[in-house]
């Protein structure tokens, strides 16, 4: 089995020990069985167990191993090792814009606060029917590209508007989720949801630079969802 040595430069910061963050140069040998960046990270962890990072499902579903990989946000478990050229170190940093807890682990409190602020659940005050609330296939189709979000925060932490105003701007992930419920025909709080977002900060800090679309590891399009929210607001107002 062919082996390959990968060079890494990893952001290290332990607030209990370090005065300030530093970059660690470290290498690891991978073989053909190691296909994704996460495989290499697990090997790195075996070599130096002080490196801290989050990971869980290792197949792009849980969204916990989001990192800044060579300057670009992505999931370690979905990033092919084959995509890295030989001879250049792979630079790993925590997601930008969020407080670092340790090494590659960030504090996502602000991110989830914004997510909760859009009430990410179905609001329907009618008594539940005996079996289920029905939708036509077309109505269900509108939710495609919205419900798949895994809340990894790659998009929101790639967004400069979220960097500058994380406490006020909902961010691409939150707005995608907001549109997922605005678009849901079973939801009865559409108008309240639009009211909640008609704010120069909460929605309109989005300047459509599409960093979110560029980095989304699930191939979703928050910018399109944001555009649809604006569309609905205009239609409601005129």
């Amino acid at each position: 089995m062919t082996t390959r040595t990968l060079q890494f430069r990893i952001y290290r910061y332990d607030p209990d020990r370090d005065q300030k963050p530093w970059m660690q140069d470290i290498s690891v040998e991978v073989d053909g069985a190691d296909r994704k960046l996460l495989d290499a990270l697990v090997k790195l962890k075996a070599k130096d167990d002080s490196i801290a990072f989050r990971r869980s499902c290792r197949e792009g579903v849980c969204g916990s191993d989001a990192l800044n990989i060579n300057g670009r946000n992505g999931l370690a478990c979905l990033t092919d090792l084959a995509s890295f050229p030989d001879g250049k170190p792979i630079v790993l940093r925590p997601l930008p814009g969020l407080p670092v807890i340790r090494d590659l682990i960030v504090d996502m409190t602000q991110f989830f606060k914004q997510y909760h602020s859009i009430k990410p659940y179905l609001i329907n005050n009618d008594p539940p029917p005996e079996r289920e609330r029905l939708q036509s296939p077309e109505e269900r189709e509108e939710l495609d590209g919205l419900y798949e979000c895994i809340l990894c925060a790659c998009c929101s932490t790639a967004c400069p508007s979220f960097w500058w105003n994380p406490d006020k701007f909902v961010g691409p992930a939150g707005l995608l989720a907001a549109y997922r419920f605005i678009a849901d025909t079973r939801d009865q709080a559409t108008s309240e949801r639009l009211d909640n977002l008609n704010d120069p900060y909460r929605l309109f800090r989005c300047h459509t630079i599409m960093n979110c679309v560029d980095v989304c590891p699930k191939g979703l399009n928050p910018t399109k969802a944001i555009g649809k929210i604006k569309d609905m607001m205009v239609k409601r107002a005129i």
Partner: protein, 115 residues
Amino acid sequence: MVNRKIVGAHYGLIDWLAQRITALVMIVFTLVIAIGLLSGAGASFETWRAFMSAGLMRFLTFLFVLALCWHAWVGVRDIWMDYVQPAGIKLTLHVLTLLALIGYAGWAVQIIWRL
């Protein structure tokens, strides 16, 4: 006072829409000016003056100035909202921007009426 985050200003859509509509107005005016220049309106001071003092051009120029100021108001305020955090400085910058733009609009109107 406890520092609570308050959101829900109930405006934002109008500004966003106005920014797009005023951009369209400015594009139309720019095209009219370009067509005027291509058809020789800029040949001399007299031809330029005749071009700009026609009733329709005065109407369009006034609309352009209003559109420009409104557009600049939304855009410049966006910059203050993005990059300036302290509320006091932000409010001051908003007011100064607004005053400057109102002043410029008044000045432009005087110039148009002098034609």
